[in-house]
């Protein structure tokens, strides 16, 4: 048998543990990023001009700066203040701030395409601002942004590989370890690429089903 395959079998438990950490990080930040994105999007609609500016600045800053810098800032910078966070905590906070900014932008784009007369109708019926948001705006912009939001989940999955640079022992970190012990770098990274390809394919298929599941007449996204 190919010695590399043999190594994969030997290291199997470690690989599985790494896969689990990758998936955990992806699932957590996809959920927190969605919740955060909805909150930030809500803030972009607030009339107060100061809050509006700050929200725009937040979105712009996190879209314009690398995730890796935020991760390093928290992982290597904060201990200077005596704050030591685990790699997972840092990754979750960093990803959430980033992903929220992107998701908020997708939702805001969808919002710009909404029929404003419809929102006026909700006000005319006597709905509060928060009710209009929850009952009319959100169900529509979420449906319209499904392709962008699911793309973001795929992006999250791929970007979790960055976390190994702050010592998070995800799948990629484990594969690295195997590579540095047997020096089969090409095979190791090829394996990593294939595993991510497979994982992304699963997410893509799930996203398609989900899109069909929540699609309504007038909200077809494909």
């Amino acid at each position: 048998m190919d010695p590399f395959i043999n190594d994969l079998i030997v290291y199997w438990p470690q690989l599985l543990a790494g896969l689990e950490r990758t998936l955990i990080l992806m699932v957590i930040v996809s959920l927190t990023g969605l919740a955060g994105g909805v909150c930030v999007f809500y803030l972009t609609l607030v009339k107060s001009s100061i809050l509006h500016k700050w929200t725009e600045a937040y979105i712009s800053f996190f879209i314009g700066t690398p995730l890796l810098v935020h991760l390093f800032l928290m992982y290597y910078g904060l201990p200077q203040l005596g704050i030591r966070l685990s790699a997972l905590t840092v990754a979750v906070i960093g990803f959430t701030l980033n992903v929220s900014a992107y998701n908020a932008r997708y939702l805001a784009t969808a919002y710009n395409g909404l029929d404003k007369e419809e929102l006026e109708a909700a006000r005319a019926q006597g709905f509060k601002h928060s009710e209009t948001f929850r009952l009319i705006i959100l169900p529509q912009v979420m449906r319209l942004s499904v392709p962008s939001l699911t793309n973001q989940v795929i992006q999250n999955l791929k970007d979790t590989s960055v976390a190994f640079l702050i010592q998070y022992h995800d799948l990629f970190a484990q594969i690295q370890e195997i590579a540095s012990s047997n020096f089969h770098f090409f095979k190791a990274y090829m394996t990593a690429a294939l595993v991510y390809l497979a994982l992304v394919s699963i997410v893509v298929l799930a996203a398609r089903r989900f899109e069909r599941f929540i699609s309504l007449p007038g909200f077809e996204t494909h």
Binding site: I63, G64, T65, L68, V69, F72, K158, S161, Y196
Partner: protein, 217 residues
């Protein structure tokens, strides 16, 4: 060492970051354009290849591809410099995204305009050069700005293959001074400034070459 000092020290390394970004985006643009032009041929084998290309390079994480290229390829006897590795990696990946952006923009070019151009006796190449490309390129600008931003944000990975861009500078400075907090904060600000400057540049160019009725939303 004050915060402005840190900013100045880091800003000196920004040139490499900008160089990597521009080289990668150029590679991506070339790849994306080539692929989208290939796509217009509508040959079965070609469209299968295009589909596979975009699918693969939109699925593999940047870091994985970079390591495969820089650390993996030598195992097959192919040695590539760190700079070429990062440019190749980011170029292949952004090429996949840009091809999609161009394809979408091309679908928006009016069929009747193409027909009119063909009727006036232009060949395929001329139709593409004079009718499709100018419209498609303008409509792709928002997508290109997004892709540019993405590439800029992935350039810090270059430090993992030993390129002396600002991330690497920041890391060695942090190790020396133990002031990671200020240093990484300064780093974030510098990236943000680069990002804003480039967006402003693109916006000015876009405005300058804008044609009424042809502006992307």
């Amino acid at each position: 060492m004050t915060f402005p000092d840190i900013m100045i020290i880091l800003a000196r390394g920004a040139g490499y970051t900008i160089l990597v970004t521009i080289a990668s985006v150029s590679a991506g643009l070339a790849a994306g354009l080539f692929l989208s032009v290939l796509g217009t041929l509508r040959w079965k084998a070609v469209s299968f290849f295009l589909g596979a290309y975009t699918y693969v390079f939109r699925s593999i994480p940047v870091l994985v591809l970079l390591f495969l290229v820089f650390f993996g390829l030598p195992g097959l006897g192919i040695r590539i410099s760190p700079f070429v590795s990062i440019v190749l990696t980011l170029g292949l990946i952004s090429g996949a995204y840009l091809a999609e952006i161009f394809r979408g923009a091309m679908a928006g070019v009016g069929q009747d305009e193409i027909l009119a151009a063909e009727a006036s006796g232009m060949n395929r190449m001329q139709v593409f050069l004079y009718i499709i490309f100018p419209q498609m390129f303008r409509m792709s600008i928002p997508g290109m700005i997004n892709e540019f931003t993405t590439v800029l944000k992935y350039t810090p990975f270059a430090y993992t293959v030993g390129i002396p861009e600002i991330m690497k500078e920041a890391m060695s400075l942090a190790v020396m001074t133990l002031r990671g907090l200020e240093i990484y904060l300064a780093l974030g600000i510098i990236y943000f400034i680069i990002y804003r400057l480039f967006v402003m540049l693109f916006m000015t160019l876009e405005k300058k070459y804008r044609i009424p009725g042809l502006a992307p939303e």
